[in-house]
Symmetry: C2
Subunit: 133 residues, 2 copies
Amino acid sequence: MKVHDHQLQVPGLRMTKQRKEVYRALMENQDHPSASELFDQMQDTESPMSLATVYNCLEAFVEHGAVKQVNIDREPSRYCQNSTPHAHFHEQETGTIHDINFKPGTSLSDILDLPEGTEISNLEITLKGKLPQ
Amino acid sequence: MKVHDHQLQVPGLRMTKQRKEVYRALMENQDHPSASELFDQMQDTESPMSLATVYNCLEAFVEHGAVKQVNIDREPSRYCQNSTPHAHFHEQETGTIHDINFKPGTSLSDILDLPEGTEISNLEITLKGKLPQ
DNA sequence: GTCTTTTTTAGAATAATTCTAAGTTTATTG
DNA sequence: CAATAAACTTAGAATTATTCTAAAAAAGAC
């Protein structure tokens, strides 16, 4: 069994060789690549694939909750291997995207004036600005 | 002086008749229209205008901080007359977008694990789900 | 009024994403 | 295993929100 093989599974999803490669690329990189950046990476693997397939794979992962799709402004979607709830910080100077975790024990309803009984199925928090150096 | 005329000003921005109409439409409606919805509305006014102009006007308002551009998923941008910091709730069944205010005295840094000294220039919070009837 | 800058405009261009329809792979069933 | 069905991949076309272009119109400055 190769290193990392145990990670290359998404429950309920058939893992074709294309999906494995896309998933591996996402898991191994800490940045937030776009579909076309992933497509470029895929050309150097054992299973180069079409851009449509990259999109198809990503869509399947997102639908299965294994990957998060990150939309900032009208820029191309980016994809995030961290599927737990978290926020994104978009550093203005570099364009880098950082994951920001919630403080333990807190939740959005601590600061938002939401009616009682609101059911949240999805949330996206994006900050833009400058991180200290 | 007509009703509402006093509102039709954006500091630092020349108010052409096209901009006045777009701004009025945004201020008078509580929904979050897209550029093309605004374009349609503009056809019934005294100064029907091109779609490019609607986009130009909106861009100017957003740059001047008078209007907020709301991006949800990859849907067309929507525009929000509420330029103060707030969140957006996207009701799944109807597609309606509601403004959600912050609880007084709270801020995002109450719940997010941000490094000290972080400068936030912009934030976007979008929730999706169901509001109680 | 003349000059300069800004704005508007129609239409073309761009680009991320989705669609289509055919081919390929994988799973299932007898 | 062979046959069939279902799911996946693919190249290329289509879609579509938005931006760009270059020329005309409007507004402001002098």
